[in-house]
């Protein structure tokens, strides 16, 4: 009396499956545009030394407008800044800073947020009360004030940017994870794990977390966009990476007083930030659109 078996589709290797799920993005036009923008910046960051026409830190000829020829040969396509650094090269190298720190900071924030959210949601009771209370306190601070306070206390450096962003973003992530956990923990497979005496860590990491991944991936994509902006803002406020590291936010800050006379100095880094953030947001929209279908 067995039910007839359907022929088993062969399981494909992981990279192929990842490519296939990315290929699903094709069905969403905005998603494709977003993915294109993001991919563009990733390629730029990886091949920066080969693409950049000049050194990002070398002072060549100050205040050259876009498309002016360089003395050493070549063209300053986007002009140079007030101390004579090539803006195109700085924008290209600046993408490296953003594309390293933004994912890293998002990842750290996710680790903390997920662990807190899973425990708060699964355990409930006083632990949930305490963690939710802490999260609410952090969320009630204006984010910018929080960054200024943290960086001013521990100093401006790459690691400290990570710490500050993790501290400020983790509570929001915790709330999402907590909500998902509250839903998933009522499922029968969680009860099945409980009735065979699995440890709490096993239940959290094997039974609950993988099944919450859908909404989390979309959120991570959006949050990556916010973090990119944040890194720009921190750079602009002088709380980011110490100079002379090329940093889009920092570039805007250094040249903002001259923005009316030499607009190219601040416009191009701004365009760079916006296009990457736009790309990430559109990609998140596309992912959400696809995940809602079916």
């Amino acid at each position: 009396m067995t039910e007839i078996a359907q022929p088993l589709p062969k399981r494909e290797p992981l990279p192929l499956r990842l490519l296939k799920s990315l290929a699903l993005l094709r069905e969403s036009g905005v998603g494709m545009i977003g993915a294109g923008l993001v991919l563009f910046w990733v390629v730029v960051a990886i091949f920066a030394p080969w693409i950049a026409p000049f050194s990002p830190t070398a002072t060549l000829q100050p205040m050259m407008p876009p498309l002016s020829p360089a003395e050493s040969g070549g063209v300053f396509l986007l002009g140079t800044d007030h101390i004579g650094r090539d803006i195109l090269s700085r924008v290209i190298y600046g993408s490296r800073t953003v594309l390293i720190y933004a994912p890293l900071a998002t990842f750290c924030a996710y680790i903390v947020g997920i662990v807190m959210g899973l425990w708060a949601g699964y355990r409930g009771g006083w632990l949930d009360d305490v963690l939710s209370f802490l999260a609410n306190i952090i969320l009630s601070f204006p984010v910018l004030v929080l960054y200024v306070v943290i960086i001013a206390t521990i100093g401006a450096s790459g690691t400290n940017v990570l710490i500050a962003i993790t501290f400020a973003s983790a509570p929001g992530i915790m709330r999402i994870v907590r909500g998902l956990t509250l839903d998933i923990k009522t499922r029968d497979y969680v009860a099945a794990a409980q009735t065979r005496g699995e440890s709490t860590w096993w239940i959290l990491l094997v039974e609950i977390l993988p099944n919450a991944r859908g909404p989390l991936i979309v959120d991570a994509c959006l949050r990556l966009g916010y973090v990119t902006i944040t890194i720009g803002v921190l750079g602009f406020l002088g709380l980011g990476l110490p100079p002379p590291t090329p940093d889009w936010g920092g570039m805007v800050n250094e040249t903002r007083r001259m923005a009316t006379i030499f607009p190219w100095m601040s416009v191009f880094p701004c365009v760079a930030i916006s296009s990457l953030v736009l790309g990430l947001n559109l990609m998140a929209d596309g992912l959400r659109e696809i995940s809602l279908r079916d």
Partner: protein, 708 residues
Amino acid sequence: MSDAASGAATPVLEIDNLHVSYFTRAGEIPAVIDFSLKLEQGEAVGLVGESGCGKSTVAMAIMQYMGANGGVVGGSIKFKGRDLGAMSQEELRRLRGSEIAMIYQEPMAALNPSLTLGRQLMEVPLYHEEVSEAEAYERARQMLSDVRLPDPERVMAAYPHQISGGQQQRVVIAMALLSSPSLLLLDEPTTALDVTVEAGIVKLIAEISKKFGTSMLYISHNLGLILETCDRVCVMYSGEVVEESEVKTVFASPRHPYTHGLFGCIPVPTADKNLRPLVAIPGQLPLPHERPQGCNFGPRCQHFRAGRCDDHDIRMSEITHPSPDHRVRCLRWDELAEDEIATEATEHEPLEPGEPVLVIDEMQKYYPVYDRSIKALLSGQAVRYVKANERLNFDARRGETVAIVGESGCGKSTFAKVLMGLETATEGAITFNGQEISQRPIDSRSAEEIGSLQMVFQNPNDTLNPSLTVGRQIARVIRKFGAESNSETIRARVMELLDLVKLPRDFADRRPRQLSGGQKQRVGIARAFAGNPAMVVADEPVSALDVSVQAAVTDLLMDIQRRYRTTLLFISHDLSVVRYLADRVVVMYLGQIMERGPTAAVFSPPYHPYTEALLSAVPIADTSIEKREIVLEGNLPSVLDPPKGCPFATRCPRKVGTICDEERPPEQQAGPDHMIACHISLAELSLVEPVIQMVKDGEPKPVDPQYG
């Protein structure tokens, strides 16, 4: 409507060769194929079939509401002679809700939570007929008493969440009837309700067409409900109607092998797990885009003839003898004599129960509820208790099936939690395999103890972790209980378990979403049996499955039990299934045991009045059975504030007086191992007529559940 005058000539609904398809990524998927139906004024037609057979799509097509990707690709739907497909959106909107009304499964979803029920009901005549407020109120109130809601004024002033699910469904029905529709579509209107509540709604629905002259299309997967409510029935399979006739004709002499198979899967009172076991239909429903050539039921049919049945699409054939107006979509119906269609069942030796495995002694489980209001603090009632389980006493022996029966809120799930060690008992003892476990939560039990007491869960879509392969999930359990660490041995054991639950071995590498509901439930069973348990708790293991799959899964459980002499604790609300497979039954109501005893004794007089009502509430798909009708009034009392005396006193039709409200009923011994907790004397209870009787030669005769 002007057409209504000539209603005698034109049928209310006429569907002709309807084809409906959905358009998806995978292309066009036909959902309904060649569907024809004629519905006369005041007639009730049942549409019965398993999930995915297209029965709800028919209803959606009638409403002309098929979402973005569905569409009628052929045929016509005429409502009172007018083609619905040719109507404009505006005309359709006027028709929906006034001429054609629909009632869905979830009453809460149909009611607006932020408006009073009265307001929502009054809107119907106000909007469609533009009557005065006062008249609308009067009509709404009258309709509420017509659907037998007690105290209609109070209901009018209430919000949806303030009344129970059964009452909500009555309000939804009242709302549909207020505009006096000519056609009422009911899509599984009682599936979300408890059996005793369902019985009341079913009775109401059966009265509607007589009282209001409304035509009804009743969609359900439950053949018993169709028998109780409808005049005609269409049996659907994989998008097609396979058999259509008067209800009595189809039930008494089904001619399509699928209809026949369905009846073989239903635990009717004459079925018996050892002498007349259920016969499952082999295989499963084909996916809509993988339907076979020719007869859709072909691959599962034992009368299949290659070359004939799979040659071309099969049309409905007319049967005129013995009863006219009977159509069946089968080429071989006239070759298959009736007795030949009947499938052979295999008999089994009954299992002899052994020593007690589980002994429950005066077990209690209370949950404290803290009231932090000042009033509660002052009166000293800051802590109240939900008495989820009150003084439970029963035992289960090796190789035996003990069923716990009761409706939602009766405490059966709490009991399972305490037994499994997810909670600890407030008082009393649970002895399992000679060990006291009531105070030991799961992390203080040894792996062996945990492995010997496992559970099968209710919802097949929820029972497996969607992210892990089937094989890994079973392997985890083996590693956990078997103290086995060699991955080769574990893999071999996983294969053995897949064989045990009759699944192909390559299922080990599949993910749960690639499996059907029945297959997932089989994996759930394999997982429960991985640690060679002495006892398995099955919490409604088949209630979420399709009828034809239910029988197969039930059969499998019985099979494994016979092989390993496992004790089964079967938790269910479905008395037909319980009668079929349990050796002993425990009937619970509001956390207390009302009746306890061997199945045969519980299912025949003397009954506890609650058991009697439960028995009457279960719909039976058998025309040779006559049932006494008992409809319970009122709602389940709150567990926070249960009646002081007998918990059932508030709804009991046989209540004797104030003694029921004030004193706990005595436990009366009605026979060997048979206990009834009631104030009525046994002698009096014994005089009660049996609820279910078999009509044979015009003489009602009680059904003996053991030797039907």
